[in-house]
């Protein structure tokens, strides 16, 4: 096995003892993909950077882990589309071994044994939709057009810092002017469409295009993934947009696998970082970000070591950064209140399976093609909404929404031949069960709920299970540090987007103390393995240091 192959598959444990007395130019806290991106850009710009990570593995939720024998799990995030190609290229991630392979298609299987497939070939996809509703098949042209119009608009702002609308600084005014100009360029009707898309529920939005329940249910899923809202909650139409604006090699809305699991992304970033002289220290979390006289001075780790720097960048969630890792006396009470009000409710869980063979979904028996894509088990938007009602009542959904993928049908590196890794994203799962902390009994019951549901669509599934890892929001918080297990580091609702993200007045990656920065998904433009917050924060830091521009802005897409 070559070194490259080894890196593709196995997470190398990295532990190095840095020089204790040395003062760094910057310390980045948290080696999630945004922390890595941020650190890599800073190191690339010539800074002396220390990246600290609480776990003894890197990647945060962008990770590949061996939990069972030779199986590699993408045990948190599991697919890739949003990763900014500008970052990919600027950090030369290909050189460091990253390969993103698109996967085709999806299927939404209904209880009556029918399904809606989506295929790589657009004609086949259209005909499949026409099988259920000829009208919807044609309406999809209009739907795709309208979504694409909005995607094109929003993509322009992913690698830009949001302006502060309350500010009179020239830079903010100019950025507001720029946004305004881009907005007006859309034309009156598209602006109105935008106002509607951003504030409507996904189910109402879809009603304006489609008539068939299964088609609506299939599309509605993207409106709730990672969100603590139901398909009927106003605001979920935007979440669909968030899932549609990515691309693989320019195919907008397409998703892919990172070869070797999602950890391959983090590993490539880490290699880039180290290649540029960065130091990575894993295995001990930050106890406190130290501040003196309104300026950060460095970090104190849980293992007792302290490191100094005038710049500290937090990749942690907003609450974790300010409520857990800072002396509350260093912060204004009003700021603390706002941090506490930040909406970061966990709503999803995950099951990772090592399977002895390929599950056989009854509905897809004679259709081996669709099983390569994402699979959903839902019939109607009502059924999705009911799943949300359970969450509101403090319990996991009894009939959950699942987004299932078998990456090993595409990626030969993650399981022995003929065996499979199956990733099952589950919604809704609350951060607490009826107000109480999760117990292992709860976790097992939750897992059983999901397994039973899959079994009912794929008889014999249970017998294939060699190992299962059940992850609740509680586990996501404990393992990865995602507060309440919210996968986006904060909900993607109007009050927490753009200049409101994470909180109004702090949307430009700068924290309340001098030298303190934030680079996690709590910041604009939010979650998903996008690397945009990390890159944007790096751009702002280098700007404050008056360094030459070296972090890419978005490619022009006309």
């Amino acid at each position: 096995m070559t070194r490259k192959q080894a890196r593709d598959i196995i997470q190398v444990q990295i532990y190095r003892e840095p020089n204790r007395v040395k003062k760094y130019d910057a310390i980045v806290v948290g080696a999630g993909h945004n922390g890595l991106t941020n650190a890599a850009f800073l190191a690339k710009a010539g800074l002396d950077v220390l990246l600290v990570e609480k776990n003894d593995y890197i990647g945060g939720a962008t990770v590949s882990l061996k939990k069972h024998k030779d199986w590699v799990y993408s045990n948190c995030s599991y697919v890739c589309s949003l990763l900014r190609p500008e970052v990919y290229r600027s950090l030369n991630l290909a050189k460091y071994g990253l390969q993103v392979v698109p996967y085709g298609g999806s299927a939404t299987i209904s209880q009556n044994g029918d399904y809606l497939g989506s295929y790589v070939d657009p004609d086949v996809s259209r005909r499949e939709m026409a099988r259920l509703s000829p009208r919807d098949a044609d309406a999809k042209v209009r739907f795709d057009r309208d979504i694409m119009r909005q995607c094109r608009f929003i993509r322009q702002f992913l690698l830009r810092t949001a302006p502060d609308p309350t500010s009179f600084k020239p830079r903010d005014l100019m950025e507001m002017f720029y946004m305004g100009k881009q907005l007006l360029n859309l034309g009156e009707d598209v602006i109105y469409d935008m106002m509607r898309l951003y504030t409507m529920s996904i189910s109402e939005y879809l009603d304006e295009y489609f008539e068939h329940p299964l088609i609506k249910a299939a599309k509605a899923g993207s409106g709730i993934i990672g969100s603590a809202m139901g398909v009927m909650s106003p605001g979920t139409a935007y979440v669909l947009l968030h899932h549609a604006m990515g691309d693989v090699d320019g195919t907008m809305g397409a998703w892919g696998f990172a070869r070797g699991g999602m950890g391959a992304i983090a590993q490539a970033m880490a290699d880039c970082f180290e290649d540029h002289g960065g130091e990575l220290l894993s295995g001990s979390g930050v106890e406190q970000i130290t501040v003196r006289g309104g300026k950060v001075t460095g970090v104190a780790l849980e293992n007792g070591n302290e490191y100094q720097a005038d710049v500290v960048v937090s990749n942690m969630t907003l609450p974790r950064t300010f409520l857990e890792c800072m002396d509350q006396n260093d912060l204004e009470p009003d700021f603390i209140r706002k941090v506490k009000n930040f909406k970061i409710r966990g709503s999803s869980g995950k099951l990772n399976f090592a399977l002895d063979g390929l599950p056989k979904f009854t509905a897809l028996e004679d259709n081996p093609e669709l099983i390569k894509g994402d699979l959903h088990l839902v019939d109607t938007v009502e059924r999705l909404e009911l799943a949300y009602d359970d969450w509101k009542n403090g319990s996991w959904s009894k009939d959950p929404y699942v987004d299932m993928l078998i990456p090993t049908l595409t990626d030969p590196t993650m399981a022995p031949p003929g065996k499979h890794f199956m990733s099952v994203f589950v919604q809704y799962v609350p951060p607490k069960v009826n107000g109480e902390d999760w117990t292992s009994d709860h976790r097992d019951q939750f897992g059983q709920t999901v397994i039973d549901k899959i079994e009912s669509y794929a008889p014999g599934f249970k017998d294939l299970i060699l190992h299962v890892e059940i992850r609740t929001p509680r586990d996501l918080e404990d393992d990865v540090g995602l507060t309440q297990g919210n996968i986006f580091q904060g909900e993607l609702t109007m009050d927490q987007l753009l200049f409101n993200r994470p909180i109004p007045g702090y949307a430009q990656y700068r924290g309340p103390a001098k030298g303190l920065y934030m680079c996690g998904s709590s910041n604009h433009p939010g979650g998903g393995v996008m690397a945009a917050p990390g890159a944007n924060a790096a751009r702002e830091i280098l700007r404050d240091m008056r360094k030459p521009k070296s972090v890419p802005e978005g490619w022009i897409d006309d």
Partner: protein
């Protein structure tokens, strides 16, 4: 004989139609109002629902009526007076430990000091933010992306108003305007009863639960009247009567029992209306205070509209979710823990936000709430014109009661009525024996009786995607419809429902401006 070329016909004598008529007549226009019912008023109406018992059959509280209208049309001297003003709210608790909300002060229910302080702050910012809505209410919504001077000026004005909130309030406004009232109340308050009561501001008359985004927007809209709650003497019909008096005095012809069956076209512009009995009334301008679906799909007909516009009209979300209960009572009901004087308050059954949210859950699936929420008034306490001495009228707005009930309203109505009364009896144990007559108006009844498609009180869901330049739909939001000579002046247009009159006033201004061109 009316000359057609300056004759304006207004379809519908609801309060907006009457306001519009009065302003047009004030400007010297010759106006005829055609009302299908026997009396004017639409949903702002007083009806005898049982012999000797009168009630505001639609809206039962007045708190949004545009102050400009009241002043400019001198409604007070046209017969508008009040039996109650600046009413307090009492949030009912099953154990009798009720919460009294009077402005920004709170009493009872063991309310904490924190909540007392928070309530003052809540009222402060709600009023400030609602002030922005208030100013928007009185204007024709601007178009975005047009280069028209008026539009740009109007947008700039709004932007300036938001800026003038100051940095902190502006940030808070931009943060909360689009979210849900559940989160905002959770951020500010401790008492479940208080939060339950306040959450109703965000959900009454809508298809929202407290946790649904848009509910904060609805609460701000409700606050935008910038006035306390009051009850007109003689019920809400008095508002309409006063408006009708003013309009008639200014020369408006009001015809009741005159049902418009269609809007007449000549070429590509309107030429008048036709009544159900076949009578044709020529007019160069037709103004409809009927809801947009009724106006365009029912009265005008799709063939006179373009298909994209037709689709938008069909897509307007306007399915009612609110029912109205009227009880004729043999005496004043006794509520546990309430003084008799407090019975004149606005009484709320919304013990906590989770309760409201659960009540809403049913509506999502086409079911009625098993435990509904209610806003109750007993107007006869302070107004003896509504019922004989010693007798009383109870009026309650009840949610959730979806228009498209899966089981169908004929099958469910009686059960639902009894269920609501049972709910009331939890707070007023003796009420069963006091009931002489009961009436429940479901959205289906409201659709039929008041001719509102879908039975939605606001002629369309109040939501950001159906507000301002998006209400009822783009390119029809400045009161002029795409059809030459046809205007809208009802609650389906900006700024929407509630007895405000603003849509009627704004429409009149828009019509007059268009005729000056």
């Amino acid at each position: 004989m009316t000359r057609a070329n300056n004759h304006i016909v207004i379809i519908g004598g609801g309060h907006n139609g009457l306001v519009c008529a009065a302003y047009l007549a004030k400007a010297g226009k010759q106006v005829t109002v055609l009302e299908a019912a026997e009396q004017v008023g639409g949903l702002a109406v007083t009806q005898e629902f049982a012999p000797g018992f009168n009630v505001s059959a639609g809206a039962h509280l007045l708190f949004m009526l545009d102050k400009n209208i009241r002043k400019e049309l001198r409604l007070d001297s046209a017969g508008l007076s009040f039996s109650q003003q600046d009413m307090s709210t009492t949030a009912l608790a099953e154990d009798g430990n009720h919460l009294l909300i009077a402005g920004d002060s709170l009493q009872g229910a063991d309310i904490s000091n924190n909540d007392q302080v928070a309530m003052k702050e809540y009222q402060r910012f709600m009023k400030r933010f609602a002030g922005i809505f208030n100013r928007l209410n009185n204007r024709t919504p601007p178009r975005i992306g047009s280069k028209n001077r008026h539009d740009l000026l109007s947008l700039a004005k709004t932007a300036l108003q938001v800026r003038l909130l100051g940095k902190n309030d502006m940030r808070e406004f931009l943060r909360i305007a689009g979210i849900n009232i559940y989160d905002v109340l959770q951020e500010n308050f401790e008492s479940p009863l208080l939060k339950g009561a306040l959450s109703l501001d965000g959900v009454l008359g809508t298809n929202l639960g407290p946790r649904s985004n848009n509910s904060m927007f609805c609460a701000l809209h409700r606050f935008s009247g910038m006035q306390g709650m009051s009850v007109p003497r003689g019920g809400m019909g008095s508002v309409s009567k006063a408006l009708a008096n003013v309009a008639t005095n200014k020369g408006v012809t009001i015809r009741t029992s005159a049902t418009v069956s269609r809007i007449l076209m000549e070429g590509d512009r309107v030429s008048g209306v036709e009544l159900q009995d076949g009578e044709k009334i020529p007019a160069v301008t037709v103004v409809s205070s009927a809801d947009p679906k009724t106006t365009f799909l029912g009265l005008l007909g799709a063939r006179h509209m373009e298909a994209g516009f037709t689709r938008k009209i069909s897509n307007i979300r306007m399915r009612g979710n609110t029912a109205k209960l009227h009880l004729a009572l043999d005496g004043l009901p006794e509520f546990n823990g309430l003084e008799q004087t407090q019975l004149g308050d606005r009484l709320l059954i919304a013990p906590d936000m989770e309760y409201v949210e659960r009540a809403f859950n049913h509506a999502k699936y086409g079911e009625r709430s098993s435990k509904p929420v209610a806003e109750i008034t007993i107007p006869s306490l302070h107004d003896d014109s509504l019922a004989a001495p010693g007798k009383h009228v109870l009026s309650a707005i009840v949610q959730y009661a979806p228009y498209q009930l899966k089981a169908g309203w004929p099958a469910e109505k009686a059960t639902f009525t009894d269920q609501i009364i049972d709910l009331l009896a939890k707070y007023a144990p003796g009420i069963h024996s006091q009931i002489i007559h009961k009436e429940l108006l479901t959205p289906v009844d409201i659709e039929r009786e008041f001719r509102i498609s879908g039975g939605h009180w606001h002629h369309g869901e109040l939501a950001i995607d159906q507000f301002l330049m998006l209400r009822p739909v783009p390119h029809c939001a400045q009161y002029a419809s795409p059809v030459n000579g046809l205007f809208l002046c009802g609650a389906g247009s900006h700024p929407g429902g509630g007895v405000m009159g603003s849509a009627g006033r704004n429409a009149a201004n828009a019509i007059l401006a268009s005729q000056r061109l």
